[in-house]
């Protein structure tokens, strides 16, 4: 099973840092500096940042795996409960590629695969890998 590129972990760490900055800013806006509530807010923000940055996101990065076989695609994910999705290639209806602002810096994008009744999203793939996967899954596209 293949993992996501290492750049995906960098992006996740950046997201947790941005979230921390946002929480600190909100905390400073809502409460007076160095009052009791300010310290509570600051501690909570720090706790959230540490949890996301050192525990949750690394686990999330390691849990996301995928594999493309001749007739099916397998995608595994889940931090607290593991989920494995297996989809036959001939049941795939259509696909989409999602590019966030991180694409322009780190060249990563997400691939969404739509089948009857559900869809799977493989996040933060390398751009070339994403296009190659899309070509194998849906050969008619010109991504």
């Amino acid at each position: 099973m293949k993992k996501l590129p290492k750049r995906a972990l960098v992006v996740l760490e950046i997201i947790s840092l941005l979230l921390f900055v946002l929480l600190i800013t909100l905390n400073s806006y809502m409460f007076l500096y160095k009052t009791m509530f300010w310290w509570i807010g600051f501690s909570l923000s720090l706790l959230i940042y540490v949890f996301l940055s050192f525990i949750f996101f690394p686990l999330y990065y390691n849990s996301n795996k995928y594999e493309l076989l001749d007739d099916k695609i397998i995608f595994e994910r889940g931090v607290f409960s593991n989920k494995k999705q297996i989809i036959n290639l001939d049941k795939i209806v259509y696909i989409s590629i999602i590019k966030t602002p991180f694409y322009y810096i780190f060249k990563i994008c997400s691939l969404e695969i739509f089948v009857m009744g559900t869809k799977i999203k493989i996040p933060m793939l390398d751009n070339k890998t994403c296009i190659n996967l899309s070509k194998k899954i849906c050969p008619e596209n010109e991504f």
Binding site: I92, V93, Y94, I95, S96, I97, I98, K99, T100, P101, E112, F114, V115, M116, G117, K119, I131, S134, C138, E140, N141, E142, F143
Partner: protein, 483 residues
Amino acid sequence: MNLKYKDFNQVHPAAIVKSISKFLWILFIPLLRSLTISFDGFYYWIKGAWLDILVILVVLLLGYLSWSLQKYLQTSKGIYFLKGIISRKLLFIPYDKITCVSIEVPFYLKPFKAVKFKLNTNGGGYKKADIFMILFKNQAEKFYENCRVSYIKNNKINFIYKSSWIQIIMLSFISSNTIAGVIFVFTLITKSGNILGDKFKTDFFETLTKFAELLAFGLPPFAAILGYIVLFGWLISFIINVLENITFNVKRQNNEINIENGFFVKKQYTVISDKINFIQIKQSLVTKMLGFYITFIHCTGYGKSKNQKSVIIPSDYKNATKILLNKLLPEIKMCDKKYFPQKNTLPRFIFMPITFVFISISLTLLCFFIFEKLKDLSLFLGIMLIIPFIWYLIVRIISYKHTGIGKKNQTYTLKYTYGFGLFTDIIPEKNIVKIIFRQSLFQKPTKSCDIIIYTQAEGIQRHLVPNILKSQAIEIINNHKFS
């Protein structure tokens, strides 16, 4: 990537309104501001009005950006659709995956020569189309033609069907919130009001009562108002349904079925015949007595819009329906039932409704003798309670004769009841995804079981045929070929 951004086409400017509506939630900011400073007076509000104006400008800007970044491209193999401001999403749908294409022309878009274009596949959600765009009329027509050209096959069948006035009125009459239920509610309200009217007159209703007295014709005014509201509501629903279906027509061309209807909003649907999951013929007790059938098709995308029913034949008699279906959809043919419930399963059909009737009668008699002051009310409410259960009992007796399964040329015909409706589903074998046999303890003596068939449709559709002999059920599964 071989695609170039400049090759993509822009959608109609009218789509800006829809794009703006997605960001209206941002107006929560000025609303919150006005609520927090409302106590300080008008001067303080106007001092910070620049923020409100800024928020409105941001909403308008985001709406415009969302519209300008929404583009589409048609190629020989499929359709590309690009949308999103910060997170850009590029969709690709091959032509052979399209199940239904529709064009809607609302009256408010007509002056702008704009139409609503919707494209559906089996992979999308239940309530939303896979692609929804507001396009110029000629853009939509060109798009529509390109979609059709790409999947036309050689089997040419041409047939046009236009429903008559009587059929439209019958369909509207039946589908407008169940006339039987409305009459029932109307009678319940007016008669209850007759018994309790004096007790419920208060100062609050006096003014309303004076007005209603003009229209009451002897009934208690508040009950008359409620009754008229119910009837009026049904009448509006009926008129809307008539206008909606007044231009209904179906055309079969090659492997497409083109359906047109609508008065205020003209709608045109193109359904691919081999993407139809199954056909459903529906009857109620009333239509059964009148001999009418209403036929629906289940195809992803058709019947998805609000208040839209996936009708193919509005209402017709049995033989006419069969003939029309053979002409419109000769690939999916109905057959007679081969497997049906045995005589010893009749008690299973009628046991529950008889129990409900018995309980209702017992409760009515109990209330009649216990609550002496409310004898009239108890009797009346009891009768109103028993009527639906007797109706259900009649449906279940008919259900015993109606239920069954048939199979011919890889197409199943399932006949069953659900609630108060009698259904006949015609399903190609390839669309069946799961079959379940279910036998309860009470079915063991009669050696029967329920067959539950799941079909691929928008979501999963479930068809339950009860009380079939177990040996026949095994024969069905042995002859079935899962694809």
